[in-house]
Assembly symmetry: C2
Homo-oligomer: 210 residues x 2
Amino acid sequence: MLHYLKENFTNIFEDELIEEINQVGTLKEVKEGEKLIEIGDYVRSMPLLISGVIKILREDEDGDELLLYFLERGDTCAMTLTCCLGQTKSEIRAIAEIDTTLIMIPIQKMEEWTGKYKTWRNFVFQSYHARLTEMFETIDSIAFLKMDERLVKYLQNKQKVTNDSLINSTHQEIAYELHTSRVVVSRLLKKLESLGKIELYRNSIKIISL
Amino acid sequence: MLHYLKENFTNIFEDELIEEINQVGTLKEVKEGEKLIEIGDYVRSMPLLISGVIKILREDEDGDELLLYFLERGDTCAMTLTCCLGQTKSEIRAIAEIDTTLIMIPIQKMEEWTGKYKTWRNFVFQSYHARLTEMFETIDSIAFLKMDERLVKYLQNKQKVTNDSLINSTHQEIAYELHTSRVVVSRLLKKLESLGKIELYRNSIKIISL
DNA sequence: TATGAAGTGTAACTTTTGTTACTGCCAACT
DNA sequence: AGTTGGCAGTAACAAAAGTTACACTTCATA
């Protein structure tokens, strides 16, 4: 684990902190599709992403989903940060988008480190800032864009985080994450294909140029 | 100013911190409609709300607005918190919804206090949490609700923060904040009036029961 | 009092999005 | 080979939201 830490966080945390993380953290590997946290769960530890991608989802009363944003290498979960202190429940669901490796830190340490290490504080604040920014972008998309534009953004985003121009999703899955219907997604995807921007296959979409 | 501080923050901050805030903070009064910060501005000080309401808005490329949430007594601005450290520009606009009193704290102190006072850290984290939660609610509204339901929520919210069942807004203003058109707002308001839930006047709306 | 600007009400229409229903296709399994 | 279930394509329709246009009211002020 130490090698992961040094690789990803040397220029962020001082050696002493890295050593502490190494002491109390535990390595966790999650497979694609595996759920990390559910809405209503209490948060017991804080994740540091070593590799992979986690998608963060919101849900309404009917069980309909909406993709909020992705967490990538070097990120942590903003929800966790506050939940730890406030003892409140999670308002989001977190699912591994691809196979992911993370280091879990017991929440007790959080409070301690926040007082002790300036670099830790900066990391936490930067995480908050990053998450807020992503939330703003999500809001912009939903509020200001039409579904076709949102779909394009979604595909671009997916391509970026998975680093793969072949997206392995069904139309139904995409519809869930954008909170629309399968028919609408199929319709818009077909339009994008006829424009030569993507190619459609069963269970996957190839991005040509968006 | 000390009296404001003691009144609003005694059970939150220790005396020593209250004293420090009193030393370096400056009292600021803003009138209804006055702009506190604009998108792209650099943030130079952090506000503590003593009384009044601040509305936080987001804007798209065309200059269209969207209301994100309100800040009330005891709140602070999450944007400020991260902007200070990261030296980034504001991504939101802040406008006084009603006459408002705040204490402005120079950003240099933030970093210092975060290391020094546990209560300050908790306050900052709680602020983040509150703001994140409000952002989630905003996203829920935009993504999951139809315009008529969003309008009702908007009116309820406005009534709550202003503590007044008479809302002094034109249909156009409401349309801006919900990012829709005036005609749509008029249409839906008329429907609410015919249901006996509100009464419509020129430049104002009286809430009966929502 | 006349004028004009801003606010509101409403009709008619278009666009966007969502829904229902049915088709064919593919892949896994018996 | 035949069956089945999930996936995708598409038409036809419905609902929601946005647009344009115009009439009428209120109010400040020339």
